[in-house]
């Protein structure tokens, strides 16, 4: 029996103006978002390659490794086509420098605020906003509309159970929604292939799960639509209620959750942490210099009042031991500073983590943000992106620093040595450096397995939303007054 409904429901949907309009709009939008995503990715990729090339070129002109400025760039990932996430908000590269720590600088939005004004139209955004709206539009009058049209009584004048009716209704609407979705995703996939985006099998796998969670997402809104429609008498009212639900879930909860978490768990700013470290190291340095001064005074006490020659002799004898001594003191100081700053950063890291956990847990009350989190985790453009890169770059910095000390350390710039009344500025060896010797930065690996693991919980959450909404719709209709 439910097949008849399924058929009727499908025909009803497919022939309606609303189906034609909404599916055309969503197909156009999804295809557009694919195109724009690909164009953006390719632009970023060429910028990345160009920048890296230029960095190497400039560095290879140097004759001294110390003078070469080396940067590690974030490599664009094809998954950005679908989910831009925080990709444009965080810095694109970091200078790799002995003296300074890793700092991702020059975010795309910071470089070009024009892009930040309206942001990007990425696929996850279109799915989040447009498909959910469409799902509501399809189902807001699923039950009460039939009542208003008087068809509900006509249908139930036949030998039909409520369960059959509602199942047919849901399935019919779902298939009707799936049609434009599948069409547009196929167009998108073809665009990806046609425009030559290099997607590995793992990428395709992530994309497939992304598509699957998109289906879960709009199904959830569809079920909620039927649910509300079965709870209210008039379709105009159910539409209004659904629209408010939509606004709250898509626009309000995600933003409000992160902001409230930010206020409930304030985290010190980066400036604060940096300044704290700076003041600590200044103090440590002052202590260091003070102890060095004291040391000097003590060293020369034995030769006090003796002739210059004796003193020189004394210096020569002890020079090596003194240097060792000085090195040790310096190293203890460096270690102390390093430990302090590590502790500060770890504290910050932990605080930020718990803030993030709270924010994201709060936001998950909304299917829209659950979907957005799934999408970002699958795309690797979640908040972890910054951390992953910073960690990878820290490792690289160590590697690079080791490489530099192998190449003969010291400090960059001009080395000035004065001896025997003749000054020379040694501008290092005149030979140009061989850039190929330099260790290469390898991007952090964020594999399909990791992505799927990270997003599994939220996919499950989406499924749970679906089950709840389905049960809600089903039960509400069983109690529906058919008169």
């Amino acid at each position: 029996m439910w097949r008849i409904f399924l058929e009727k429901e499908l025909k009803d949907s497919l022939q309606s103006a609303r189906f034609v309009v909404t599916s055309l709009v969503s197909i156009a939008l999804i295809a557009l978002s694919f195109y724009l995503g690909i164009a953006h990715y390719q632009a970023r990729l060429s910028q990345y390659e160009q920048s890296q090339q230029m960095m190497l070129e400039t560095a290879s002109q140097q004759t001294n490794w110390m003078a070469a400025s080396v940067f590690a760039f974030r490599k664009p990932d094809p998954m950005e086509v679908f989910v831009n996430g925080i990709n444009s908000d965080i810095g694109r590269y970091s200078e790799i420098n002995q003296m300074r720590g890793i700092k991702l600088v020059r975010s795309e939005f910071g470089d070009d605020p024009m892009l930040a004004v309206f942001q990007f139209l990425d696929l996850s955004f279109v799915v989040q906003i447009v498909l959910s709206l469409m799902a509501i539009l399809f189902t807001y009058n699923a039950i009460n509309g039939e009542k208003e049209g008087g068809t509900l009584k006509l249908i139930f004048a036949n030998q039909i159970s409520k369960a059959e009716f509602i199942l047919g209704k849901l399935l019919g609407n779902w298939v009707a929604l799936l049609v434009p979705f599948i069409i547009s995703f196929l167009i998108g996939a073809m665009l990806i292939i046609a425009m030559g985006v290099e997607m590995s099998a793992a990428h395709w796998g992530r994309f497939a799960i992304f598509a699957f969670s998109a289906v879960l997402y709009f199904t959830c809104f569809m079920l909620i639509g039927v649910f509300v429609s079965a709870l209210t008498k008039r379709s105009s009212l159910s539409f209004l209620i659904l629209l408010v639900c939509w606004i709250v879930s898509v626009l309000i909860i995600p933003k409000a959750a992160t902001m409230l978490a930010g206020q409930a768990m304030p985290v010190p700013s980066a400036d604060e942490i940096e300044s704290r470290i700076a003041s600590f190291s200044t103090q440590a340095r002052t202590e260091f210099f003070a102890s060095m001064n004291k040391l000097f005074a003590e060293r020369f006490r034995p030769v006090e009042g003796q002739s210059q020659e004796q003193r020189d002799q004394f210096v020569r004898e002890n020079q090596e031991r003194w240097q060792q001594e000085e090195k040790e003191i310096r190293e203890t100081m460096d270690k102390k500073i390093a430990e302090y700053s590590a502790r500060q950063y770890e504290d910050l890291y932990n605080q930020k983590n718990s803030q993030e956990l709270l924010a994201l847990s709060l936001s998950k009350f909304s299917p829209a943000s659950a979907f957005q989190l799934v999408a970002m985790k699958l795309g690797g453009t979640d908040t972890g992106l910054k951390r992953r890169y910073e960690d990878a770059m820290k490792d690289y910095r160590k590697q690079y620093t080791n490489f530099l000390s192998d190449k003969g350390g010291g400090h960059g710039g001009i080395r000035l040595s004065v001896s025997n009344g003749r000054g020379t500025v040694s501008a290092a060896e005149p030979k140009k450096i061989n850039i190929a010797e330099m260790p290469k930065f390898s991007d952090p690996v964020y594999g399909a397995g990791e992505a799927i693991n990270a997003s599994l919980f939220d996919v499950g959450l989406l499924a749970l939303f679906n089950i709840l909404a389905f049960v809600g719709a089903f039960v509400a209709f069983l109690h529906y007054d058919l008169r």
Binding site: R18, V25, L29, L36, H40, Q50, S51, E57, T58, S69, I86, D89, I90, R106, S107, F109, G110, P113, M114, L115, V117, F118, Q119, L121, I129, L137, L237, V244, I247, A256, T258, M259, G262, Q263, S269, A270, D271, E272, S275, A278, S279, Q283, N293, A297, F300, V315, E356, L360, S369, Q372, T383, K386, I414, L416, V418, G421, G423, T424, V425, A427
Partner: protein
């Protein structure tokens, strides 16, 4: 006659469930955006103050101006939390140096990507997205809904002109939309005062202008949806059309116009400009080394060496800095020109959408428009001159290097060096834009909004004149 119609329209909406739900939702949102905005402002103010004071206290431990690592911070402004614009995307910290190019880093979103995930809920967002949706909700069945319920015929069986009717529709529904905005807005203003947010008279006026442009903005959406309801005979269809218009105006046109503009007007990659700069700096460095070598070869190392060396170093540094400045300026200007051209295209295209016009107008009023970065950079650059002069006076070398001859083993029995007096440092003061300047930048877009209202309303009017009331 018009008064009766407006009154009826207002009443009709005010008594409806539609209105109570929208009023509830918008009151909640507007007040939430105020509350969160205020807390956000206080939080960033706290951060700003502490960063500034730590910066000062770090410097205060130094005994020599040479070791100063001065930082300048962008001060949060109350209006920026209500109209975010690009304020959270542009860097907030600058390492102040005596010479060299300055850059901004530590933007809000790059420091806390968590907030970038969903971005902030500001007043501007509520108006741009939610109120436009409500406007559609109020207007989509203005004409055809009355026809469906049969009241249109009844109304026109009286001595009512069509102009009166449609004007009544428009004014009535605008007033009914203003209420859910203005009431929570006033509460929000009280919150601003209650929380003690320092907000100047100028900023109050700007805020008022922002709200007024918000009225114009959803007025345009009302006019569009009334127009559609006069063209389409079924209200369910006209809602669909209005929603499509909304989706395009709010979501599609602004975003795509930026991308289209970047196709039309190409701007060189920022990294390429950076590489050019770096290359130039490397050349300069090589030149310096040569000059230095020449100097050293002819130098005599006596008592006055270090002074002579420093003087020489300063003099060539000045020349090089000048050279660098002109070169960088040319590069930057070149890039800015291209960029500005692209931006002009992007915004010109985006102005097809009322949402984009409104956002441009309101961010201009709040000072969070795209030019924020440029304006701030200019202010910082001006300060750099002041800072440079001051540091020169304090005997800090321009060259970034100095020679202190200390023969090792010599016992220095000088008195303890005195810490520097940080308060001597020139203060960095950002001048906030006055109303007139902000307004003059926003005027074209406000004008657009007015014109758009008139055009759309005229279209609705003409469509209604042809509307078959039977």
């Amino acid at each position: 006659m018009l008064r009766i119609l407006v009154e009826k329209e207002l009443r009709d909406i005010l008594y409806s469930t539609k209105f109570s739900i929208t009023f509830g939702a918008s009151a909640l949102l507007v007040m939430l955006s105020f509350y969160v905005g205020i807390r956000n402002y206080q939080e960033s103010m706290r951060e700003y103050e502490s960063a500034k004071s730590v910066n000062v206290s770090t410097m205060a431990t130094l005994t020599d101006w040479n070791g100063v690592q001065h930082k300048v911070f962008r001060e949060p402004e109350p209006l920026q939390v209500l109209v975010n614009g690009v304020a959270n995307d542009v860097g907030r910290t600058t390492d102040m140096r005596v010479r060299g190019e300055l850059s901004l880093f530590n933007s809000r979103y790059s420091v806390d990507p968590l907030f970038a995930v969903f971005r902030f809920l500001d007043l501007n967002f509520v108006i741009a997205i939610v109120f436009s949706l409500f406007a559609i909700l109020f207007g989509y069945d203005a004409i055809n809904g009355e026809k469906e319920s049969g009241t249109l015929k009844l109304v026109f069986s009286n001595a009512v002109s069509r102009a009166d009717f449609i004007l009544g529709k428009l004014f009535g529904s605008i007033l009914a939309l203003i209420v859910p905005l203005i009431v929570p807005f006033l509460v929000g203003c009280l919150m601003v005062i209650g929380f003690g947010v320092p907000i100047s008279a100028d900023e109050w006026i700007k805020l008022l202008l922002i709200i007024l442009s918000g009225f114009l903005y959803f007025g345009a959406f009302l006019a569009v949806s009334i127009f559609i309801s006069a063209v389409v005979s079924k209200s369910s269809v006209s809602f669909l059309f209005s929603l499509v218009v909304w989706i395009f105006s709010v979501l599609i046109i602004p975003k795509t116009s930026i991308l289209v503009a970047s196709q039309i007007a190409k701007v060189p990659n920022v990294d390429a400009v950076d590489a050019q700069k770096r290359k130039f700096l490397n050349q300069q460095l090589a030149g310096r080394q040569q000059k230095m070598q020449q100097f050293m070869q002819s130098a005599t190392f006596d008592e006055g060496f270090s002074n002579r060396f420093n003087a020489f170093n300063d003099s060539i540094s000045k020349i090089y800095e000048k050279e660098r400045e002109t070169f960088f300026q040319r590069l930057n200007e070149d890039w800015r020109n291209k960029k500005e051209w692209q931006e002009r295209w992007a915004f010109r295209l985006s102005r097809i959408s009322p949402t984009a016009i409104y956002q441009i107008a309101s961010s201009n009023l709040a000072g969070t428009d795209v030019a924020l970065k440029q304006r701030y950079l200019e202010a910082v650059n001006k300060y750099q001159e002041q800072f440079g002069e001051f540091m020169m006076k304090k005997g800090v070398s321009m060259g970034g290097m100095r020679v202190v001859i200390r023969s090792s083993g010599q016992q220095t029995q000088e008195e303890q060096p005195k810490p520097i007096n940080v308060s001597e440092l020139p203060q960095f003061v950002e001048t906030r834009e006055n109303v007139a300047a902000a307004f003059s930048r926003a005027v074209p877009d406000l004008g657009f909004l007015v014109v758009l209202n008139i055009v759309l309303f005229a279209a609705g009017f003409v469509a209604f004149l042809k509307f078959d009331v039977r």
